[in-house]
Structure formats: structure tokens, C-alpha cells
Symmetry: C2
Subunit: 337 residues, 2 copies
Amino acid sequence: MAHDEFSLIRQWTSRSAGQEGNGLSVGIGDDAAVFSPSPGMEVVACCDAMAETVHFLRETMKPSDIGYKAVISNISDVAAMGGIARFALVSIAVPPHWTAAECREIYDGIYEACAAYGVRVIGGDTVAAPDALHLSVTVLGEVEKGRALRRSGARPGQLVFVTGHLGGSAAGLHLLLQTRDAGARVPSEWSELVACHQRPAAQIEAGRLLLASGAAGALNDISDGLASELWEIAEASGVSLVVDAAQVPMHEATRAYAAQAGRDPLDWALYGGEDYQLAGTVDPAGAETLARQCAQSGISFRIIGRVEKGGPSVTLCRDGVCGPMAKAGYNHFAQAD
Amino acid sequence: MAHDEFSLIRQWTSRSAGQEGNGLSVGIGDDAAVFSPSPGMEVVACCDAMAETVHFLRETMKPSDIGYKAVISNISDVAAMGGIARFALVSIAVPPHWTAAECREIYDGIYEACAAYGVRVIGGDTVAAPDALHLSVTVLGEVEKGRALRRSGARPGQLVFVTGHLGGSAAGLHLLLQTRDAGARVPSEWSELVACHQRPAAQIEAGRLLLASGAAGALNDISDGLASELWEIAEASGVSLVVDAAQVPMHEATRAYAAQAGRDPLDWALYGGEDYQLAGTVDPAGAETLARQCAQSGISFRIIGRVEKGGPSVTLCRDGVCGPMAKAGYNHFAQAD
């Protein structure tokens, strides 16, 4: 990419310059940004990297989707602490075969996701890459002091829950890869699944309800699949989780597409990842109130199991048979076989 | 890189797990880290990315140097705000041709730089890359509320200063590339220049002295060369800077190596970059005290020019002839011709 194009990208990426205020003392455009958390709040900080061909393919994600999802995956980590997201730093490495126009589309997606969650871009870096596009996003948020929800908070006697529906992102990716391989277009009847994969949502509101309830135990966001996230909770908390497969929530479209594709939709729910829903544990006494509050906000809140002593382990019960839930994650680009 | 090797890297990278305390509520190992700035302080946040072949070559930088320098370049940005560095998030994308042992060496360098500046690694991401290694580091620091030093703080009547010596990093890179091309080893007489390139220092202490003095105007760190940084100050502040070439501080080794290589050392000082010294402006009344305080801390503090009305412009005077200082930066890997 030519030097002039880099200048264009830098101009484009600094569109939030001059938006100081509301705790932000120095925004984008200096050596560093400067801000204060709100009174009574701590800073929440996380960072996720995505590499072309490893985390996304140009055939399955538009440039704007790539930018959008990179931000969402970080906001989702803030949601998993019970926090709210406030600021983002975006570091992008651009190889020669990406045009300045495509980079602008990536930033369109980045700014769209930020706008949807009240996040301001306060810094970052734009550099050249030899061959593959890399995107690394840091999101800074805040949470009430001493109240962040951790993976280690699960206690025996609590219930295991998930928000929303699982497996939709993996189903959407399977569909996108199948239609790419067939040289076809995605049938409009499956557009919901494509949206699950390309434009996921972060569950900030659910995380805030959980924190406010005082009933939450452990919390994790589902980036690598439910199985992986539940194992992290079991190991960090030193408990055993027992999950009822019949209760794992999936969209009707996910089940229908799985039936058509000859797949088990539960595999996508457990091992697909990138659903960015929340999984965690709650005190039984608070579960009903939480479910009602979530429903009032249009959020599905489903009890899928219970926390027991022992472990760390995760057990899956399906059709009356219980056994260890496999820990492995999914290899995204090896699935469309 | 195999999955097992990734697990090894993840274990290696989380060596600071469990080091909570001193404002850090949640360290590495959860979805996000949680911390509070110290009382009366704001958060300083910056992010720099480095890509293999673009920002470093394996022939000129050991893996540990790459990690070290990636952290220093960010701490230097915090220094340029007058702040102190506290936390780092490290995002690394590793291609198949890098071994797990080499990645450990990168992290050795990262942790070495962090230890030298009191910085704790609190998060990050380790992912696969298709071909080139990418390293993106976010450093979070703090600075007294409302007192961060900005590029826009230069005022007519102030003096232009730089800390330390310039051009050493570019001289060291030139030397490393020349000896690589000749298949030779670097003569030990030039080891100081190699260290300037591979193991730069960040000027946190000088930044703190400047902030405390109350005499500082604008401040920038020299990552892209003095010319580029002074132009940023001139443009952000709306002033004209006039610099005396004879006052630009350079190591004797830089001058000696330039003479041997048939180069003008001033080119390296103005356009070489990666010296990570500070450049800025100060009130004349405070300059002498600051120079004395810096000297007491072993820091060279040199007045190299003055701030005038008008501009934005940067003028270089050399041997009685004054003209505009070129704005362009240096193309690192095109210089060893």
C-alpha cells in the first residue's frame, strides 16, 4: 500500500478526534489517550487479535463485518466481567493486496460497533503488513469497584445458565463455506444464521443485570464454544458442572439448517464458538427474578444445569446418558467437509 | 505451530498470573483485567503494532529484542504524556516458522522491559498467523489529573529541547544491515550503537521531571525521527520551531561510525527514529533548573532551538543557512545501500 493511501487511512481512522469530555481528557491524535473511570468504578481492559485466513476469510466476511466483529469480541469480554465498554484502541496491519477503500470499510464496521455500544475510539496504530491483514483491538471499560464477575465465582448449589441462543455463528459459517464451495449465493431463508456469524451482538445488558442482581456466581462469554467456557469456569472455580443437553438453547434456524446439512446442531452449540452470549452460574434464589428481568429486556436467560462439589469437571447429559463434555474447541475452517 | 505449542506459549505468557494488588483487582487469566488508577491520577492508554519484515528483521533483532522494543515503544508514549507506565496487554500472532522456544524468548524480552519499568502484563491474546509474526502491545499508565503533557502545548518564546542522544538507533541498524550483507560480525567497538537499536530506553524519568517542573510546553517521544516529531508539535501547537543543527546531541560513536560509513549523522538524528528520547518545549525561566535536575539523574537535556510565532513550520539552521526541515520519515530497510 502506498504512503498516500496510509495517510488516507490515518485520516479516516481519526474521525473521532476532538471528541473529548465525559471522562476523556485526551482523545485520539496524541502519543496516548488520557481518561478517568467514572466515580466508584474500576477500569476493565481486554485485547483480542484476529488474523486473515486464521480468524476470518474474505469470502465469508465483508471488510465491515471484520471490523464490527473484532470490536464485538472485545466488548463481549467486558460484558463477561459485568462491566460497560467505553473506549477502544485499534491496531491494524495492512498488506499490499488490501485497498484503502477496503480498509475504510473495516473502520466503518469498527465505528458502527462502537456506536452501537457507546464506545469511543481513542487510539491505535496503522502499520504495513507483508501479506495477511491483522487486526488487534483493545477495549477499555468500567465496572463497580470490587464487583467484577469472575470465572472463579461458581459455587456448589448454584445453577448454570446461558443467555440467548448458541450455535448460530457456527451454522452460519458452515453455510457460508458450503455456498462458497458450490459457487452459489446464500438462500435468503438462512439470512438469520449469516447474521449470527457476521454481526454478533455483545451481551452488555445481560451482564449488567447479572451484576446488579447480586445473585451471579461465575461469568464467561462464549467466544470459543460453550464447552470451552464451562471448562474454564469449572477449573477456575474448582467445581463440577452438570449440563442437560436438552436445555441448551438454539435458534429454530440452526436446528433446521443442521438437519438439512446432516449435522448435529449441538456440536455447533458446544464447540462452534463466536456466539458471544454469556454463560455462568447463579444462586437458585435469584434465578427467577433474573429470568424475568432479562425477558423484559428481550434477553433469553436459560437454566441449563447445576453446579456440584468436586471436579473440576463438566458433565453433559443427553437422552439419559451422562458423560464428560469434551474440552476441545472447533477448527473453524476445517468444518465444511 | 501445533496446538500443544500454543498451550505452552499461553502458559509462558501468563507468568504474571496471581499478581493482583496495588490497584490491580483482576490480573491475567480472566476475560478482562480490572484495575484502578491511583488517587488523583487519570489513565494513560496507547497501542503500537510491529510486523515482521516491516518493523523488524530476524537478522537484526533477536526474539528477546523484538519483545523488549515493542514494550519500550509503548512506555515511551506514556513518557511523552509525562506519565508513568503500569500495565501491558500483549497481543501476538505467531506464524508456523517461529518455534515455541523463540516465542518464549520474545516474552522474555517483554517481561524484561516490563520489569525494568515496573509494568505488569495483565492480558492479551495469542493467535496463529499465516506467515509473518505480528506483535501489538497496549500499555496503560497514569498521570496526574488534567496535567498530561500534549503536543499542542508549545508557545512562542519557549525553547526547544531534546533528551539524550539522537541517531544512535539508525546508526546501529545501518551497521547491522551492512554486516549482515557482508556476512560479517559486528565489530565490538560499535556495540553501543547496536544496543541503541536493539535495546532502547524509555524516558519516563525525564517526562516526570518535565511534568513536575511546571515549565513544560509541548512533549513528544522520538519514535519516527526528530523532524517528524517536531513537525507534529508545530502543527498541533500552531507555532514555528527553529532548530540549530549544531546543538542536536549525538553520541561520539554515531559521528565516528557515520564518518566511516560516508554518511551524514544528522540525517540519522533527524530522520532515523526509534531513539525513544523526548523532544518538546519549555519556558526559558525553567530550563536551567530542569537541565540541572536531569543532570542529577544522569539524563542529558539539551536546548536545540526556540519557538516563534507563525507557522506551523520547522526550520533547520546549519552552518549559517536556515531552511525548512524536511517532514519525511525514514524507510528503515531501504537505507543500507
